[in-house]
Every structure is written in C-alpha cells, then in structure tokens.
Symmetry: none
Subunit: 198 residues, 4 copies
DNA sequence: AATGAATGAGCGTTCATTCAT
DNA sequence: GATGAATGAACGCTCATTCAT
C-alpha cells in the first residue's frame, strides 16, 4: 500500500517547497503576524525581496501552507481508509491519521491552520473551507456508517466536533517521545466515541 | 446559592473594566497583533495615549485580560462544586461551568487565553500558568474522586486533556442560540468520559 | 564681609526654590530634553500637573534656573571684588569666584546654562544674555585695569575668552575631593594670564 | 606632506557619508534629542524609514558621527606632528590642528561630541573613550617632551585640561571670517602655556 | 494650590512591498 | 530569478500641557 510521503506534497525540495516548510515552522513558532518576510527569507537563504518572485504577498504564503497541508492530510485520510471495510477499523484509521497530522510530520502546518485562520483574507478563507469540506466529508461518511451499523448513537456532527476537539488539542500536550503512543491514544479516543464494551 | 456575576470581576463598569472588555473582544476578533492600541482606545472612547494611564503597555492589557478571566472562571468552578458531593454531579458541574466559560459570557477572553498565549512575555506566561494550576487542580481533584469511586478507569491526566479538547473546541462551533443547549452538551461530554450505562 | 549664601537666591526652601534646585540637578544629569516634568514633580513630591501652578511651562523652569544662577553668581563676583583694589588680587577674586560657581555649589545650574542654552526660546535667550552682560562687564573692567597697569598685554576680550574656556572646562575634570584645591587652580590660571614672573 | 582631506573620512559623498554630515549639523544646531529622524531624512532627501537601512537606530547615527570625527581628527593630529621634531613646534602643530578641528571643517561634529555625550549608550561611550584616549595620548606625549626639555614646568595633565578648555571654548566665539586668524590664536594659546619670553 | 485622568501631536522604529539593476 | 535600497503607512508609546474636581 502506498505510504504518505514524509514531506507534504508541495513542501518538497524545490525553492518553493523549502520556503513553505520554513514559513510553516515560523508561523507556528512565532505566529503569522510576528513572523517577518525577512525571517522567512533568512531561513531559506535569500533576500526578502526575492520572496515576492514566488508569492505575491506574505498572506499568500500562509494560504499556500494551509492549502498544502489540507491537501496532503486529505490524501492521508484517504490512504488510511483504503482497503478497510469495517467501520470501526475505518474510524481508527481516521483518528490515527488525524493524530499523525496534528502531532507528527505536519504539526507545524496544522497548528498554523488553526491558530492563524483569521490572518487569511475572506476569499482565501472560503477556498480553504472548500478544501476542508472534502476532508470533513471523509469523516462524516465513516461516522454515518457507524450510525448505520448501530455502533454510534450520538449525533454524527456533534461527535465529529468532539473528536476534532480531542485530536486538535493533543498538539498542546502529546509528547511524541513520551510513553503514550499514537496507537494507544487512538484507542482511547475510539473508546470515548463508540464505548469500550462495544 | 451564590451565582457568578454576569460580568467578570475587574471587567466591570469602571474605565479599566470597560477597557479590558473591549480589549478582550478585539483581541479575540482580530488577534492581539492585529489589534492596535488605537483600536482599543476608539472602542472605549478615549485617545490612544490615554490607555497608558491605565496600563503600562499593550501587552499588560493582554495579561490583565487573561488574569481576570482565569480568576473569574476559577471562582465559577468553585461555585459549581459548592454543595455537591456526588462525584458525577461534581463532574457535570465542572463541565457545565467550563462550557459556560468558553461559549458564554467570558468567551472572548477565554479565546484570547488560548490563541494569544505566545504574545505574553515569558514572565507573564509564568504568572498565568500559576493561576491556571489552581484552576486545573479543581478538575484533577474531581477526576481522582471518580477514579476512587470506580466510575473512571482511564488515566486522569489524559482524561482531563480530552475534556479540555472537547470543551475548548466548542468555541468554534457551539451556537448559544441553536437547538443544542449547554445542559445537553454537558451530558454528551459526561457520557464520553464515564460511559452512558454507568 | 557678607558671605554668599550656600543656596542660590531663589533656590531656597520654598516650594518654588526646591523645584528649581531639583530641576537644575535633573537638567544637568539628564539634559533638559531627557528630563520629564514627571521627573521633576516626583523629585519635589508633587504631581506633574501641579508644576504648572508654579511655572507656565517646562521651558520657563529652565529659564528660571538660568536667571537665578546668573544673578547669584553675578552677586558672588561683586562680593569677590568688594574691598580689593589691587588688580591682580581682583583678578584672582574673579577666577576663584568663577571656579566656585562652576565646580562648587552652583555647578549643576552652571552646567545647565552652558549645555541647555539652545533649549531656551529666542526671547529668553535675549533676557539671559542681558544678565550675562552684567556678569561679563565685571570681568572686562578688571581685565582693562590690568592692561592699564601694564600687567596684561594681550587683548582683553580674547583673554576673557581663554579664561572662560579654562574655568568652564574645569567642570569636566576638577575633583572637589582631589588633591588640587580651588586656590591652587586659581593661581595656575592666573599665571597663564599675567605670567609667573610678573 | 600629506594634507588632511577637507571632508571627514566616512562623511564622504556616499549615502552614508551624506547622512552623517547632515546628522552632525542637525545635532549641532538643534541637539540630538530635538533632531528627529524625519529631520535627518528630509535633509538627505529620503524617507525616514530608509534611515534604518543605513543605521540600526538614531543613537547609532550619533555614535557614527562621533567615531568618524575622532578618527579623522586623530589622523589630523598625527599629520600635524609628522616631520616636526622641535617640541614647541610640535605643540603649535597640535594647537593649530585642534583649533581647526573645533572651528573648521569638523566643527559641527566636534560640537556634537561635547554636547551630546550623554545621549550615547554606556557601551558606545566606552568605545568613544577608547578612541579619545589615542587622541589624548598624542597630546600627552608632546607635553611630556616639553617638560623634559624644561620648557614646561606645570603639570602636564592640568596643562592639557587648560588647553582643552581654551580650544574647545573657541567654538563659542571664534569667527573664521574675523580679523583673528587661527595662526594668531595658536600663538596666543602657546604663550599661555610656555610663556612668551621662553 | 493640588490632583490625576485625559489629551493629541509627535516620537523612533518596523516591515510588507516595490523596482531599478 | 535575485538583489537590496527605498518606500510610506502604521505601529506602540511618550509627554508637556489642560482642566474638572
């Protein structure tokens, strides 16, 4: 089975890709507003003016980071579902994938997605939301499967939102080098959703 | 039983209080960095220079917002526990109180607490963390009670973090004027923690 | 013979006098521009707004300091000449008095007179210059006496300017607690003017 | 023999050099604190923000002015001594050079050095003092030569300070277009130091 | 006389963006 | 594509001065 690349598509070894990676990390560490284009340029090894040959504005860099990370993570979600038919197994695939998204290789970019949302222009927010809908639909499909199979009684929308809270907040405390593994956390969250005995 | 005031202590009708309320809302809507001292001053109806008779710097306004909201919500947590002895009832009191904190009267300030954390100086971060510890200890005490009474098997720390995720994320979707009430959401979250049948 | 008071007339124990003393010291230590009215007020133990019951503006405080110090030091010059008839003795009296002005009790205010000159309004500069003319005339009279008696060959104006340079610069190096006394320095300067053998 | 350039090294025709020249004049005319970066920028014909491509802060401009003028004038002192062996001739060379420093081409910058000293940061003060030590050592060497040859009896340090006073004060009265020439003033000051008959 | 909150113009500095080279 | 000097608007903050109390 295909593995997600360890680098976000579009955050590859090209100048543009290195720029986005650096920007994602800086935005995450310092916030969008506190990150100057000079910071980004220095990280990539060019002059600040040269950034604008790659992106028309600083906000477009933020937008590109968000687009790349959503696309990449949507693909990761798809791969996590591929070949699985059991709804619970599919749910675990999604939780595991989303946790990796949040605490793993794309954690900087994901954090940016949450924390720097309002720094996007309204138009770009719309475009990101459209991409996010695709991502969320994959979740909703699986949650509806679970309801159809009787393994989930609660409302699917509310359930998704509680899951989102649990996974997204993990960026604030989960330690990739601690004793709790992503697999274990996946099971713990699964049990909060469909119950332990079921 | 005493009810929490509907206005955060220190965000009252005094000039300082109105200033903090306005700042909290602006910080929440636009972010700390994108909010200018002139924005805040305009909202309060004074000149920007006059802000500095009340606070030595813009960052101190942010700090004051955070301190006030934590103090107020810690007190709200205490009142939610007052008079309750059953651990599950106490848990529901905490969830309900925290939800009101996040989607109710102090939602702007709470949002600021999460999203503008890094805008605080290191020293102020320490001071806020000390206040936060008091708040969190109230939670940990109740979760340990639940474990003692056998109503919670999962690790208390992890449990608290999952609850934090669920409650804090509600700021992004809960509609105070929607059909779902805080009481209902409290029950839903409670069931994710101690199970529905128990 | 009357002794000059150890406090400048007008910088006495009254509120106005204490204010001027404090201002003179602050202006000397920090410069006029870097001294805030709050600095002055704090030193005197009042609120900054209250300063303006004593002086119409900050610049007027500077002006008052300068006027007081010139008046006081002109009087000191007069007293140094009183009762002396020998031109050389009179010269030494002036040198000694001017040195005391510059390195002694009025050193702060004298320093202000030199360094903060351009902070005065043009009109106030004229008024101070008029007072300074009185002071300088006392010097010129004695220097002309020395020329009449053949003890000074050099031009009186140029001589006065060289003396002014030597005495005024002493504020930058003379140590009141060092081994060189004002009396000794007076003799050294006298010898630069009228020659040692004469 | 090499002549000192009529423009301070580093205050040449480059943007940086023109900026320093303009700043030196403005600082001298208005004082450092009363000179705004907008004043300097206007003088040079750029926007105020553009200043900060050349210097990290306004204070660094002041520092640069001082460093350039001391370096230049130290070199001028060296050239004044070059080829001269007679101590009196060397003394006259120094006096003449210092007078040209103070009333001639570098008078603005020299004035700034004296009057705006306290506007420097403590660290920059140290660095300027180190440069000043080199300058002063050239003076002290010649004064010691005069003592060795018996042409100066007075203490060398005190003598230097009296000379400093006389030369530096000349900025307040010497008129380059008046009837008194620098050469004449040099002789007058020389006579105050080593006596006319000697 | 004194207070102290408020003013408002102005400060030094930042920084995304432009553009001639 | 890259440079780096320049722009210019905006920022947080200062402070002499005012004035109702």
């Amino acid at each position: 089975m295909a593995q997600p690349q360890t680098i976000v598509n579009g955050m590859d070894d090209t100048p543009r890709g290195k720029l986005l990676s650096a920007a994602a990390r800086l935005f995450r560490d310092q916030g969008f507003d506190r990150t100057t284009v000079r910071d980004i340029a220095r990280e990539v090894g060019i002059q600040s003016g040269s950034l604008f040959h790659h992106f028309p504005s600083k906000e477009d860099i933020l937008f590109a980071v968000m687009v790349e990370v959503i696309r990449f993570n949507t693909e990761r979600l798809r791969m996590a579902l591929a070949g699985k038919t059991d709804p619970v197994e599919r749910l675990c695939g999604l939780i595991d994938a989303e946790l990796r998204t949040i605490v793993g290789d794309t954690r900087e970019a994901m954090s940016v997605l949450v924390y720097e949302w309002r720094c996007l222009t309204a138009e770009h927010q719309q475009q990101v939301l459209a991409l996010r809908d695709v991502y969320e639909q994959l979740w909703m499909d699986v949650l509806e499967e679970l309801r159809s199979s009787g393994q989930l009684q609660a409302d699917a929308f509310i359930t998704r939102r509680l899951i989102t809270g649990m996974t997204s907040w993990s960026s604030n405390w989960f330690d990739a080098h601690g004793s709790l593994t992503i697999e274990q956390l996946t099971e713990i969250i699964r049990d909060r959703i469909i119950g332990e005995s079921r």
